[in-house]
Symmetry: C2
Subunit: 145 residues, 2 copies
């Protein structure tokens, strides 16, 4: 009654990434919904905690997302009171995204998340770091052709 996941070799790497990403988001979900966040929203907050007041474009570079994804996401975060979006007075084309007190305040409440995920992964920090570097190398290869 079982289905062998008998996918060809090259497809399996893609499927691995695909399903591992879903599993990762699934692992984050209970931790994040306690904070009222989705996974991409959390990634945006992490980027803003590291550097507040970034433009939409800079966030796009950091998160590898376009404005067509970021604009509605940031609007929802603004509606939640986590960030403020404002045109840059020096260059009105750009929109700067700044944390509110509530947005900054979430950093402390989210402090335990990385450790919790690390534990769920069942891997050592060294192994995860090595894996990360390989996955990043693959991603960068794919991006530049």
């Amino acid at each position: 009654m079982d289905t062998k996941p008998a996918l060809p070799t090259a497809e399996m790497i893609c499927f691995s990434l695909y399903s591992a990403t879903h599993a990762m988001q699934h692992a984050y979900k209970p931790l994040l919904e306690a904070l009222g966040l989705t996974y991409p929203q959390y990634l945006a907050l992490v980027a803003l905690w590291a550097a507040d007041g970034q433009t939409v474009g800079q966030l796009g570079v950091a998160l590898q997302l376009e404005s067509n994804t970021l604009t509605p996401l940031l609007k929802r975060m603004e509606a939640q009171g986590l960030v403020v979006r404002a045109r840059d007075s020096r260059d009105e084309r750009q929109v700067r995204v700044s944390l509110t007190d509530a947005g900054r305040g979430l950093q402390a409440r989210a402090a335990g998340i990385p450790g919790c995920i690390l534990e769920k992964s069942g891997m050592s920090l060294a192994a995860l770091t090595a894996l990360r570097d390989q996955v990043n190398a693959l991603r960068d290869q794919l991006r530049e052709r």
Copy 2:
């Protein structure tokens, strides 16, 4: 004017998978749209090429997706004439998904895709296989807790 992607250590593994998955789908896109397929539709076809006539649930196991994702996806593929969906006469709860001639015919036209992706990845088959196994191990760890 650049943004350092200065994300904390544990987040970076997740972000790696997240962005590598997007990069992978981006790499597949031009190859797949020549066939009129999306990436999840292609994965479903690959699974059906390996084993035709699977139920929605079996496909869900193979692709790690639920019926709430698969049903509309398969309906779109049926509308394109790639598959047929039919209730199993032995157990009317189940729906079997079978390839049409057109769906089977795509296999030949898609034969070059894995090699093309392999080339774009810039990695050896051995390296990709090793990476796949590590990513699968991480995914399985995350799934079972």
